[in-house]
C-alpha cells in the first residue's frame, strides 16, 4: 500500500510537470519525460522487470545477538535441579539376573488336577510367558491354551486380593482364630461336622495333608468335585476290571484308531503328548507313507473330529449304539441296541481294526457312559492292544472317587444339617454343581463355610470366609501328570496379594499356620525320598520340572467278563442335549481371562459366548437362524440360549458348552454367554434326551471371527488322499499356479546371510489354538472385546482359518493357521507412504510401529489379510499389574498403528546376539517362534532357508510344500504342507 501511495504521489508530480504544456511540445516533453530518472523509476515500480530483492531483515549484529541470547538460555535450561531422592544401584547384583536376559524356570500348570510341565520365562523377576517343558511327558515342549493364558490370570487385576469375611475385608489371622474355635468344637465329635471339598487332587503333598487332617478329625470327610470329572472312565474301568485303573495311550504305535467321542487331541489328560504322537504319524513321505487312520464318531465337531479320516456325526446315544455295533462286528458278545445305519462303515472299520491287531486302538470319550468305556476296554483287550497301544496304570488321582457321587453325599449331608464346617479348596460348586443337587440351596445349612479361590466367585459370595488363593506361579506345590509323573510346582514370584495356597490353608487348619508352601512341599518330598542326597534330588527335580522315575508303571489287568451289556442312553423322543467343557474358558474358571474369552473356538470360531450348537438340519426343523434364542427345558429347568448352526453337528443333538454366564465375575467375564449348568443334572452330566425347545423370539449377536466357511473352490488348503499322493507326489503342486520368480523387471533381493522362512504342516495341525494365544502372550497383543470382534477388529497375529468342504451335514474340516506370510514381493511394502513396513536384509517384512501413521493401505493390499490395526487404543496403558506381564522385548502398540506377525523378530535377535557372543552363526533350531514352540502337533517349522541342512529347507523341498496365493506373484515365505487323508479304500469307494 505504501508503495502505491508513493506511485500516486509520483504520478501527481508528473502530471504537474506535464500541466501547462501544449501541442507538439507536450508530446515531445513526454518523450523527454520518458528519459527522466523519475519516470524510469515509476515504470520500474509499476511493472518491475525483475523481482525486488527481499530486504534482509536481520543483519549480522542482530543475528549474533539472537544467537548469543539463545545459547545462554539453552544453558540455563541445563541448570534444572536434580531430584533429591537417592537411587541405589545393585551393590551385589542378584545372582544370574542380567538385565534384558530372561531366565526360565521349570514348574507345572494343572488343569482338572493333571499337571503339564511348563517353563516360565522370567524377566527381572517377573514371569512373562509360559513355554512347554520338553522334559515333561505331558508337555513334550508344548502347552495348551490354558497354560498360555495362565500368565494373564496371574496379573489379572480382578483376582481376589484379600481375605474376606462376609464380604468385608479381614485378615488371615482372624480367619485362623475363628476356624480354630470351630475346629476345637468339632474335635469333641471327631470332626463329624467337618467336610473338605476339593477339585481333583493329584498332588501327593496335598493328599497327605488332607490325610493327616483326617487323622486328626477321623469323622471328617473329603469330597471331590469338578464339572470336568472323569467319573465315566473310572466307572468303566471298574465295570471291566473290578478296579479303578487309568489308561494311557500310545498313539505312536497305533495304526488304526477308533475314537468313540473322545477328543483326545485337545481335551483329555495327556492330550498334548497324544497330539504329538498322533501327528507324528501323519507326516507321510512318498517313500514311507506310514500314516495312521482315525475313525471318529462324535456328536459335536471337535479338533480331533476334524482330523478324522472317517467321521460319523452321531448323537451321544448314537455313538453308544455304534460302539455296540462295532463290538459285535468284532465278535464280542454284547447285549444292547446296536446302530442300525452305517452298516458298511461299521464292518469296514471292524475289518480294519481286526487286521491291525495290537496296532490299533479304541478310545472312548469321557462323555460316553461307563458301559461304553467298558466295551472299549473289551475291544482293546480283544484286539490285543492292552499293554501295547493302551497301557493300564494305577490311578493318577490321589484319591479316585466318583465325583458326582462324592458331591451328592456332601449335599445330602448338607441338607441333613450334618455339616458344620465346609472347607472348599478351589472350585465353584455353587455355580457348577449339577442342578438337581441344589448346592446353592443347601449351602445355607452349613454353619461355617470357607472358600479358597483365585477369584471371588459365586461360591465365595455365599461363604463366610473367602481366602484368596495364590496363583501357581506364586506358590509351591506338586502335581502328577497323566502318566503319574510328579512335577514340583515352584513359584516365579512372591504372591502379588495376601493370598494363600491350598497347602498353606490345610496347614493352617491343621495347626501349622506358620508353615510356608515351600517347607510343606519340601518336607513332604524329604520324607518321601529315603535314599540318596536329597538336596541334589530336590535341585534336579526343580530344574528339570519332573521328579525322575515317578511315572506310574504299566499294570496288567484282566477283563472280568465276556458278556457285555449296554443299556444305552435313553434315545427316547425329542432332541438330545449334550454338555461339553468349553474349549476356551473350560468349566467357567477362565471366564475372566480376556485372552481365552476372545480366542475363537476351534470349529465355530465363536468368541465371548457359548451357544446352542445345532446342525443345519436341526436348524431347519426348528426353523431357527444363527443367534436366535431358544428356550431349552429339561426336567423343569430351562435356559435361554442363542443358536449357532454348525456343519458336522449330529442332527437331533444340541451341544451346550458350560462355563459361561457367570454372575459373580470380573468385568472381563461379565455378560459373556449363558449359564447352562441349571439344566445339567447329575444323571445326565454329559447328555440327556428329550429336551424341549421353544423359540423366544429374541436374537443375540454372536461374535464369530470367521463368517465364511467355504473355500469357494480356491486351492488354499490343498488336500488329497494318501494313495493318490504316493502314486503321484506332484499332486499338490499341480493344484495351483506358481509363476516363475524371474518374471519381474526388478532385480531379486540378495540374501547373503540368513533368509528366514516358515512352513506349516496342515496335516499335523489340529486347530487347537495354542499358537494363537502363545503369539498373543509373546507379542503383547491386546484384547478388543466382543463389540470389536463383531466389528471385525480382532487382533490375533496368527489366526486359524477353518474351512468346510463337502456336505453341510458332515463336511470335512480343515484348519489353516495364517500369519504374515513375509512375502518376497510384499504388496504391503510398496503402498506404505511412509516406509513403515519394509523388507529386511534377511527377508522379513518388518513393521516399524513408530513410523506408522495408520493409512491402513497395507492392510487393504494384503492378500492374506493378516495385518491388524489399532482402531482404538486397545493396549491397556493404565492397569499397573498388566504392565508387569508384558514382554519387554516387544513394543506395546499405540492407537492408530498397524501391526502383524514379525516371525518373532525379538527371538531372532536374541539368537543372533547369543550367536555373536560365541562368534558363530545362528544354528538351526536356535530360533523357535512362539507359535512353533507351543505347537503340540509340531506343525510349525521356522528357520533359515539358505541353510540347506535346516529343517525348514527340507520342508520347503517337500512334495507337499506349496504357497497360498502364489499366483499373485507375491512369493510368500511362509508355505504350507498339504493335507493328506488316509481313507479306508473300502469306505471311500462306497
Amino acid at each position: 500500500m505504501k508503495q502505491n501511495n508513493n506511485t500516486e504521489n509520483k504520478l501527481d508530480d508528473l502530471s504537474r510537470q506535464i500541466a501547462g504544456k501544449q501541442g507538439k511540445e507536450y508530446w515531445r516533453s513526454l518523450g523527454q519525460l520518458a528519459a527522466t530518472p523519475e519516470f524510469q523509476n515509476f515504470v520500474e515500480n509499476e511493472f518491475p522487470a525483475s523481482p525486488v530483492d527481499a530486504a534482509d531483515g536481520i543483519n549480522r549484529r542482530r543475528f549474533l545477538q539472537l544467537m548469543g541470547g539463545s545459547i545462554a538460555l539453552a544453558g540455563l535450561g541445563a541448570c534444572t535441579r536434580q531430584p533429591e531422592e537417592k537411587i541405589v544401584p545393585y551393590v551385589t547384583a542378584p545372582e544370574e539376573i542380567i538385565p534384558g536376559e530372561p531366565l526360565f524356570f521349570a514348574t507345572a500348570f494343572t488343569l482338572g488336577g493333571y499337571a503339564a510341565g511348563v517353563l516360565a520365562e522370567s524377566h527381572m523377576g517377573r514371569p512373562t510367558k509360559i513355554e512347554g517343558n520338553a522334559l515333561h511327558p505331558a508337555s513334550r515342549g508344548a502347552t495348551d491354551v490354558f497354560a498360555q493364558a495362565s500368565i494373564l490370570e496371574m496379573y489379572d487385576p480382578e483376582r481376589s486380593q484379600v481375605v474376606k469375611r462376609l464380604g468385608r475385608i479381614s485378615t488371615w489371622e482372624l480367619f485362623l482364630g475363628e476356624i480354630h474355635q470351630e475346629l476345637e468344637a468339632q474335635r469333641l465329635k471327631d470332626g463329624a461336622g467337618v467336610r473338605v471339598l476339593t477339585e481333583t487332587v493329584t498332588s501327593p503333598t496335598l493328599a497327605k495333608q488332607i490325610e493327616a487332617f483326617r487323622k486328626e478329625f477321623p469323622l471328617a470327610r473329603w469330597h471331590q468335585y469338578e464339572p470336568a470329572n472323569r467319573d465315566n472312565a473310572k466307572a468303566g474301568s471298574e465295570l471291566a476290571f473290578d478296579q479303578t485303573v487309568d489308561c494311557r495311550y500310545s498313539f505312536d504305535k497305533a495304526d488304526v484308531i477308533l475314537s468313540l467321542g473322545a477328543d483326545f487331541l485337545t481335551d483329555m489328560p495327556g492330550s498334548l503328548a497324544y497330539c504329538r504322537d498322533f501327528s507324528a504319524r501323519r507326516k507321510p513321505e512318498q517313500s514311507n507313507p506310514g500314516m495312521n487312520r482315525l475313525y471318529m464318531a462324535e456328536c459335536s465337531p471337535t479338533a480331533t473330529g476334524s482330523m478324522a479320516d472317517h467321521r460319523l456325526a452321531l448323537t451321544s446315544a448314537g455313538v453308544t449304539a455304534l460302539a455296540v455295533a462295532v463290538a459285535r462286528e468284532l465278535g464280542l458278545s454284547v447285549t444292547g441296541e446296536a446302530l442300525q445305519e452305517h452298516g458298511d462303515w461299521v464292518s469296514a472299520l471292524a475289518r480294519d481294526l481286526a487286521a491291525n491287531r495290537g496296532r490299533c486302538l479304541v478310545i472312548a470319550g469321557e462323555q460316553q457312559p461307563a458301559e461304553v468305556h467298558c466295551l472299549a476296554h473289551a475291544m482293546n483287550s480283544f484286539l490285543g492292544n492292552a499293554g501295547k497301544t493302551v497301557i493300564y496304570t494305577q490311578p493318577v488321582e490321589s484319591n479316585p472317587v466318583r465325583q458326582v457321587d462324592s458331591l451328592k453325599e456332601l449335599t445330602d449331608d448338607m441338607a441333613a444339617g450334618a455339616v458344620d464346617v465346609l472347607v472348599m479348596l478351589g472350585g465353584n460348586p455353587v455355580f457348577n454343581a449339577p442342578a438337581d443337587l441344589d448346592f446353592f440351596g443347601k449351602m445355607e445349612k452349613v454353619k461355617t463355610r470357607v472358600h479358597l479361590s483365585t477369584y471371588e466367585n459365586e461360591t465365595s459370595e455365599l461363604s463366610h470366609w473367602h481366602i484368596p488363593q495364590s496363583h501357581y506361579l506364586e506358590s509351591w506345590g506338586d502335581a502328577r501328570a497323566f502318566d503319574g509323573t510328579v512335577s514340583i510346582i515352584q513359584p516365579l514370584i512372591a504372591p502379588l496379594y495376601s493370598s494363600k495356597s491350598a497347602y498353606e490353608l490345610m496347614a493352617g487348619l491343621s495347626g501349622q499356620p506358620g508353615e510356608t508352601g515351600y517347607s510343606l512341599v519340601r518336607d513332604h518330598w524329604q520324607a518321601a525320598t529315603s535314599e540318596g542326597d536329597f538336596e541334589s534330588f530336590w535341585r534336579t527335580s526343580l530344574h528339570d520340572g519332573v521328579v525322575a522315575g515317578t511315572a506310574l508303571p504299566s499294570k496288567s489287568v484282566r477283563l472280568n467278563k465276556t458278556e457285555f451289556t449296554v443299556t444305552g442312553q435313553d434315545n427316547g423322543s425329542g432332541i438330545e442335549v449334550n454338555f461339553r467343557i468349553d474349549p476356551c474358558i473350560w468349566d467357567g474358571r477362565f471366564a475372566n481371562n480376556g485372552w481365552l474369552q476372545e480366542l475363537p473356538k476351534p470349529i465355530t470360531k465363536l468368541t465371548w459366548d457359548n451357544a446352542a450348537i445345532i446342525s443345519p438340519e436341526t436348524a431347519k426343523e426348528l426353523q431357527v437362524e444363527n443367534g436366535e434364542v431358544l428356550r431349552l427345558t429339561l426336567s423343569g429347568n430351562s435356559v435361554e440360549i442363542p443358536v449357532w448352526i454348525t456343519p458336522g453337528q449330529a442332527g437331533g443333538a444340541i451341544t451346550l458348552a458350560v462355563g459361561y454366564g457367570r454372575s459373580r465375575v470380573g468385568k472381563v467375564g461379565k455378560g459373556a454367554g449363558v449359564n447352562v449348568y441349571p439344566v445339567r443334572q447329575s444323571d445326565g452330566l454329559w447328555s440327556s434326551a428329550g429336551v424341549a425347545t421353544e423359540k423366544t423370539g429374541a436374537t443375540v449377536a454372536l461374535a464369530s471371527t470367521q463368517d465364511h466357511g467355504s473355500m469357494e473352490g480356491r486351492h488354499l488348503v490343498r488336500a488329497g488322499g494318501l494313495s493318490e499322493f504316493v502314486d503321484h507326489p506332484e499332486l499338490f503342486h499341480e493344484m495351483g499356479h506358481d509363476p516363475d520368480p524371474e518374471l519381474t523387471l526388478y532385480p531379486p533381493y540378495e540374501y547373503d546371510g540368513y533368509s528366514w522362512g516358515m512352513a506349516v504342516d496342515l496335516n499335523a495341525c489340529v486347530g487347537c489354538n495354542a499358537c494363537t494365544i502363545a503369539c498373543q502372550a509373546e507379542n503383547n497383543i491386546p484384547v478388543v472385546g466382543k463389540e470389536e470382534v463383531l466389528n471385525g477388529r480382532e487382533m490375533h497375529w496368527i489366526r486359524i482359518d477353518r474351512y468346510f468342504e463337502g456336505g453341510v451335514e458332515d463336511p470335512e474340516v480343515y484348519h489353516q493357521p495364517v500369519m504374515c506370510q513375509h512375502c518376497e514381493n510384499a504388496p504391503c511394502e510398496v503402498v506404505c507412504p511412509v516406509a513403515a513396513t519394509t523388507h529386511s536384509s534377511e527377508g522379513l517384512n518388518e513393521m516399524t510401529y513408530n513410523r506408522c501413521v495408520g493409512t491402513r493401505y497395507c492392510a487393504n493390499n494384503c492378500p492374506y489379510k493378516v495385518r491388524r490395526f489399532n482402531f482404538y487404543k486397545y493396549a491397556d496403558y493404565e492397569t499397573e499389574s498388566l504392565k508387569l506381564m508384558r514382554n519387554p522385548d516387544v513394543t506395546v502398540r499405540f492407537r492408530g498403528v498397524m501391526e502383524k506377525c514379525t516371525y518373532c523378530v525379538q527371538r531372532i535377535n536374541h539368537a543372533r546376539i547369543d550367536a555373536k557372543k560365541e562368534d558363530r552363526s545362528i544354528r538351526d533350531g536356535d530360533i523357535v517362534t512362539a507359535c512353533q514352540q507351543v505347537c503340540p502337533a509340531d506343525a510349525i517349522v521356522f528357520g533359515d532357508i539358505n541353510d540347506e541342512s535346516s529343517r525348514i529347507a527340507q520342508h520347503k523341498s517337500d512334495h507337499r510344500n506349496y504357497g497360498i496365493l502364489t499366483e499373485l506373484g507375491v512369493r510368500p515365505r511362509t508355505s504350507y504342507l498339504a493335507k493328506i487323508r488316509n481313507p479306508n479304500p473300502e469306505i471311500a469307494a462306497a
Binding site: G792, P833, R851, K865, R895, L968
Partner: protein, 459 residues
C-alpha cells in the same frame, strides 16, 4: 461460436439473454454482493450449512479423541466412507477446473457464466476432500510424514506408494485451482472495491484486488497469466483423478487392480463434477434471478457433457466385467459375481440405475429443455457416483482372496456425521462465496455482451 449456429440448426438458446449492457451486467451480479439486504433464503441455507459444519467439527473432535474405531471400518475393509468421500469430493472438484481451463483453451465461451462458481465449487470440494485423507489416518497428527522434508531421521516418504503421489497431485491441484480462481477474481475484486460503500469491505476488496486499475498492461498481464494457468491446470484435471485411481489400480485387490481405472476415473470425475455444477447452478440462478446469465443453453451443454462422460463411465463398467471374464482369473470373476450377487448387490444395482440408466433421459429433448428434469438427473448422478466409489472401495475389499477373512462393512453414525459434516463445510464455504464474492465473472460476462451483439448484427 455465434457464426456456426446460423442456418441449418434451429436457433440455439443464447448464452446471455438479450438486452443486457455492461452496466446492467455489473449491477446485476455485483448487487448480489453489495446489497445490504441479505435474502432470508440465504440465512436459512447458511444456517443449515453451518449446523452441518458444526456436526463436522464435533465428529472430528470425537474422532481425534477416540480414534478411527468410531467408524465402521474393520480388517478386510480398512477403507470406508473416508476414502469413498475423498474420491467423491475430488471427483466433484473436477468440473471447475475443466470448465475454466479446458473450455477456456477450447474457446467455449459458454463456460463464462458458470466458470466462477464452478471453480469455487472445485476449491471447496477439494477442501472437503482433503479432510478425509487426513482424518482417516490412524495418527493424523503425523500427516506431514507423507511430505518430503528434511529431518534428523533422514526419512523420506516412500515414493512407490500411490498415497504419496496423491499428496502431490491433490496439493498441486488445490494450489493451482486456488491461484486460477484468485487470478480470475482480481478484476472483479476491483469492481467490488469501487462499488461497495462499507469502508471495511472496501479495504478488504481493495487489498484482494492488488491494485487493479484495469490498465491495458494489467489486462495484458492478466490474460497471459490466466492463459498460462489454464495451460497448467489442464493436465492437472487429468492427472489428479488418474493418481487417485492409482490408489486402487496399484493394489492387488480384485476390483482395484485394473488398467481401465485412470481414464474411467477421470471420466467419472467430470461426470460427477458437472452433475454437481448443475445441482448448484439450478437453484442459484433461480434464487438470485440469474436466469439471464445462466441460460438454458448452459444447462443443456452441461447435461450433454454429463451424458457423454456418463457413457464413458458405463463403458468402464462394461470393461471391468469383460476383463474379468476375459482374464479367466478366478478372483476377478468372483469379484464381478460378488457385485451382482453379493451382500452389496443392491448398492450395485442402484449404482447402475443412477449412473447408467438415469442420464440416458438426456437424449430426449423434452428432458433437455426441462430444468427440473436436468436437476433430477444430476441428483441421480451425484448419488450414483458416491455409490460407485462405495462399490469400488467396499465390495472389493469385503471379499478378496481368502474367504476366511471376508466380512461386511456398514458405516456408523460417525461415518455419516463426518460425511454430512463435509457437505456442511462445502455448503458453508459456498454460501459465504455467494454472499461475499461475485458468483459469476462480471468482466467476462461483459465481454459476452460485445460478442452477442456482434452475433446479432451478423445474423
Amino acid at each position: 461460436m455465434a457464426k456456426n449456429e446460423t442456418s441449418d440448426k434451429p436457433a440455439q438458446a443464447p448464452l446471455i439473454e438479450p438486452g443486457h449492457t455492461y452496466g446492467s451486467i455489473t449491477d446485476k451480479i455485483s448487487s448480489v454482493v453489495t446489497t445490504r439486504k441479505t435474502p432470508i433464503s440465504w440465512f436459512i441455507g447458511f444456517a443449515i450449512a453451518f449446523s452441518l459444519l458444526m456436526v463436522f467439527l464435533s465428529s472430528t473432535a470425537y474422532l481425534l479423541m477416540k480414534g478411527t474405531g468410531i467408524w465402521g471400518i474393520n480388517v478386510p475393509v480398512s477403507w470406508g466412507f473416508a476414502i469413498i468421500n475423498f474420491v467423491w469430493w475430488i471427483g466433484i472438484g473436477h468440473a471447475g477446473t475443466l470448465i475454466s481451463a479446458i473450455l477456456l483453451l477450447l474457446r467455449q465461451e459458454w463456460r463464462t457464466s458458470i466458470n466462477r462458481f464452478a471453480e469455487a465449487m472445485t476449491l471447496f470440494a477439494v477442501a472437503a476432500a482433503g479432510m478425509f485423507p487426513l482424518l482417516h489416518m490412524g495418527r493424523p497428527w503425523l500427516f506431514y510424514w507423507l511430505m518430503p522434508y528434511p529431518n534428523t531421521m533422514a526419512m523420506w516418504p516412500q515414493f512407490r506408494s500411490p498415497l504419496v503421489w496423491d499428496v502431490f497431485a491433490v496439493s498441486t491441484y488445490a494450489t493451482v485451482s486456488l491461484l486460477f480462481w484468485y487470478v480470475g477474481l482480481v478484476p472483479d475484486f476491483a469492481t467490488l472495491r469501487d462499488r461497495v460503500n462499507n469502508r471495511g469491505a472496501k479495504l478488504v476488496y481493495g487489498m484482494l484486488s492488488m491494485g487493479w486499475r484495469g490498465s491495458a498492461i494489467h489486462w495484458y498481464r492478466y490474460e497471459t497469466a490466466y492463459l498460462l494457468l489454464a495451460g497448467l491446470a489442464t493436465p492437472l484435471v487429468v492427472s489428479v483423478h488418474t493418481v487417485v485411481s492409482f490408489d486402487f489400480a496399484m493394489g492387488v485387490i480384485p476390483g482395484w487392480h485394473a488398467t481401465i481405472f485412470p481414464p474411467y476415473f477421470v471420466a467419472g470425475a467430470i461426470y460427477a463434477g458437472f452433475a454437481m455444477v448443475l445441482t448448484l447452478s439450478i437453484p442459484l440462478r433461480k434464487v438470485y434471478g440469474l436466469e439471464d446469465f445462466i441460460t438454458m443453453r448452459h444447462l443443456q451443454n452441461m447435461a450433454k457433457v454429463m451424458l457423454a462422460t456418463g457413457l464413458i463411465v458405463v463403458y468402464g463398467y462394461m470393461m471391468e466385467i469383460f476383463t474379468a471374464w476375459y482374464s479367466a482369473g478366478e478372483f476377478e470373476e468372483a469379484m464381478i459375481s460378488n457385485r451382482f450377487n453379493g451382500p452389496y448387490k443392491w448398492v450395485f444395482y442402484s449404482l447402475l440405475l443412477c449412473n447408467a440408466v438415469a442420464p440416458q433421459f438426456i437424449w430426449f429433448s423434452k428432458v433437455q429443455n426441462s430444468v427440473i428434469g436436468i436437476f433430477i438427473i444430476a441428483m441421480f448422478v451425484n448419488v450414483g457416483m458416491w455409490l460407485e466409489r462405495f462399490i469400488i472401495v467396499v465390495t472389493s475389499l469385503s471379499q478378496d482372496f481368502l474367504p476366511s477373512s471376508w466380512d461386511t462393512y456398514t458405516g456408523t453414525i460417525w461415518d455419516w456425521a463426518t460425511y454430512a459434516g463435509t457437505i456442511g463445510l462445502f455448503l458453508t464455504l459456498m454460501f459465504l462465496f455467494l454472499r461475499l464474492l461475485p458468483s459469476i465473472s462480471i468482466f467476462e460476462m461483459r465481454t459476452m455482451v460485445v460478442e452477442e451483439d456482434k452475433g446479432g448484427k451478423e445474423s
